[in-house]
């Protein structure tokens, strides 16, 4: 459907500018909404991760063989990266901390970063614990040659 001639004449003159301004205003509002949605989604995602971390810390149980789980407190793949520098939070710009915990919830990185490692202690930890002696059947006797 083509524009009516009147309308066509209107587009080429001042009425076009008004449309542009209206479009720009609409675009700005859309952008604002979009930004707001984006911020909300980022905040929501971070909040979700934090809740997840808290849950893992409180519900972790000690196991016989502790294993390491490596968790990075960073944005996950679901978050759309905001490349607009103006929207970057200073806190977000800092390097993300990496925490290492055992499944028992024991923190290892705090020890590693805050304390000097005593290698002799590590060696002691790695030595096998003495095995209790099993019953032995005496079958022979050593003595001066008979």
């Amino acid at each position: 459907m083509t524009n009516t001639p009147r309308l066509a004449k209107t587009v080429g003159n001042k009425p076009i500018k008004r449309t542009s301004k209206q479009s720009a205003k609409k675009a700005e509002s859309y952008l604002g909404v979009k930004t707001a949605i984006l911020m909300l989604s980022i905040i929501g995602t971070m909040g979700g991760w934090l809740m997840l971390l808290n849950q893992e810390a409180s519900s972790a149980q000690a196991t016989d063989q502790s294993t390491l789980s490596f968790e990075q407190v960073v944005t996950d793949n679901n978050v759309v990266t905001d490349t607009n520098l103006a929207n970057w939070d200073e806190e977000m710009a800092k390097p993300m901390t990496v925490s290492m915990t055992t499944t028992a919830g024991e923190s290892l990185t705090s020890n590693a970063s805050n304390q000097n490692i005593d290698i002799s202690q590590l060696r002691q930890v790695n030595e096998a614990a003495p095995v209790p002696s099993a019953p032995v059947r005496v079958v022979a006797r050593t003595q001066s040659s008979r």
Binding site: V138, V139, T142, Q143, S145
Partner: protein, 375 residues
């Protein structure tokens, strides 16, 4: 810790001047063989061991004039020129070479060249036939002191083993052969026999542990796997068991000693150790001793004095990688005295137990952690 053997069969023999017991771990054999099969194999094994011991006795005995060792000793008394090469058996070559290798390690105290000194002191026949009071009184000659380092060895292209001895040299290998024989028998049973049984061989108190070849890391040949009639998993998972060995309390030197009753209250055994490899031996002045003109002598000769060693060690027990080595170290501990013996054992990280002539029992650090029970 490995478990002790569940089923043990024991062969008892007498040879080389001592009582011999061979303990066989039949834990893996019994479930897969009938009683008849087992009995037949054990009879054959006993026969083979007796034959082997008889062969070694004919080589090493210093109480048989026809033995290879005594024929060699006679040759060296009158050989011209002063030294010459003699062809000997592979076994004599091996034991003498091992004996000479320990001379420097023991500062010359443990040496195979003391036959004449022993005979001069009266120990010229089998101990069981010695009487307490000996009539003969042969004077000692300093010329009998001979350096074992002068002995030379060579193997010819045709495989012949040869020795070169100085004229007048007299060899006695009794202090080495029992340990060597125990180790050889243990290897024969645990590695060469088709059943490859873990075992303990006790040659009159010198003890060797036999470990099947799978436990040493080497793999069995396909024929060995077929002949063993056991499953692959049983062989691969076969662990050398822990054999309990008691360390006997040595005889007291003086039956009128006031400490005797307290000493005898220790019981017949001083300690128990668990061994899964290697060897253990005991040497002392408590058993092979005799009186010669009102003076007690024993068989551990100090090469420097050519007399029975004067020592505060009543007996010494040492655990080593093989029984011949254990025997040499035990003898060395008697000859150097209690204090130096314990220091030496600790410096060399060896497990040793010393009983001194005051009936005090002292152990090296390694023995303390090796013992599983004490009296």
């Amino acid at each position: 810790m490995n478990q002790p053997p569940s089923f043990i069969e024991t062969l008892a023999l007498k040879a080389m001047g001592c009582h011999i017991q061979v303990h066989l771990d039949m834990t893996d054999i019994k479930p897969s063989h009938s009683e008849v099969q087992i009995e037949q194999q054990l009879m054959q094994l006993k026969h083979d061991i007796e034959h082997t011991l008889s062969h070694w006795e004919q080589i090493f005995s210093r109480f048989k004039d026809s033995s290879e060792l005594m024929r060699l000793n006679r040759f060296t008394q009158s050989c011209e020129p002063e030294s010459q090469w003699f062809t000997v058996s592979a076994e004599l070559f091996e034991v003498l070479k091992l004996a000479v290798s320990f001379v420097d390690k023991t500062q010359g105290l443990v040496t195979p060249t003391l036959l004449q000194a022993l005979c001069d002191l009266g120990y010229s026949q089998s101990f069981e036939t010695l009487t307490n009071v000996l009539v003969s009184d042969q004077s000692l000659s300093v010329e009998h002191f001979q350096h074992a380092r002068d002995i030379e060895f060579r193997v010819l292209a045709d495989g012949s083993h040869q020795l070169k001895l100085q004229r007048g040299m007299s060899l006695d290998l009794n202090g080495y052969v029992k340990g060597w024989a125990a180790t050889k028998l243990a290897e024969k049973i645990s590695s060469q026999h088709p059943w490859q049984m873990p075992c303990l061989v006790d040659m009159g108190g010198d003890i060797a542990i036999g470990v099947p070849s799978t436990d040493n890391g080497s793999t069995l040949s396909s024929s060995q796997l077929v002949n063993s009639q056991s499953t692959n998993s049983q062989l691969i998972n076969n662990k050398s068991p822990n054999w309990g060995v008691a360390i006997a309390r040595p005889n007291a030197l003086n039956t009128e000693d006031e400490k005797l009753s307290e000493y005898q209250a220790l019981g017949i055994d001083l300690a128990v150790v668990a061994l899964d490899k290697g060897g253990i031996a005991t040497s002392g002045q408590d058993y092979r001793r005799w009186k010669c003109h009102d003076q007690w002598r024993h068989h551990l000769i100090n090469p420097q004095t050519q007399q029975s060693a004067i020592s505060d060690v009543l007996s010494a027990t040492v655990i080593a990688d093989n029984t011949l080595e254990a025997e040499v170290w035990a003898k060395y501990c008697v000859l150097v005295g209690a204090s130096e013996a314990i220091s030496w054992l600790n410096r060399n990280n060896l497990a040793g137990l010393i009983v001194d002539t005051s009936y005090q029992v002292v152990t090296s650090h390694k023995m303390t952690s090796t013992m599983i029970a004490t009296s």
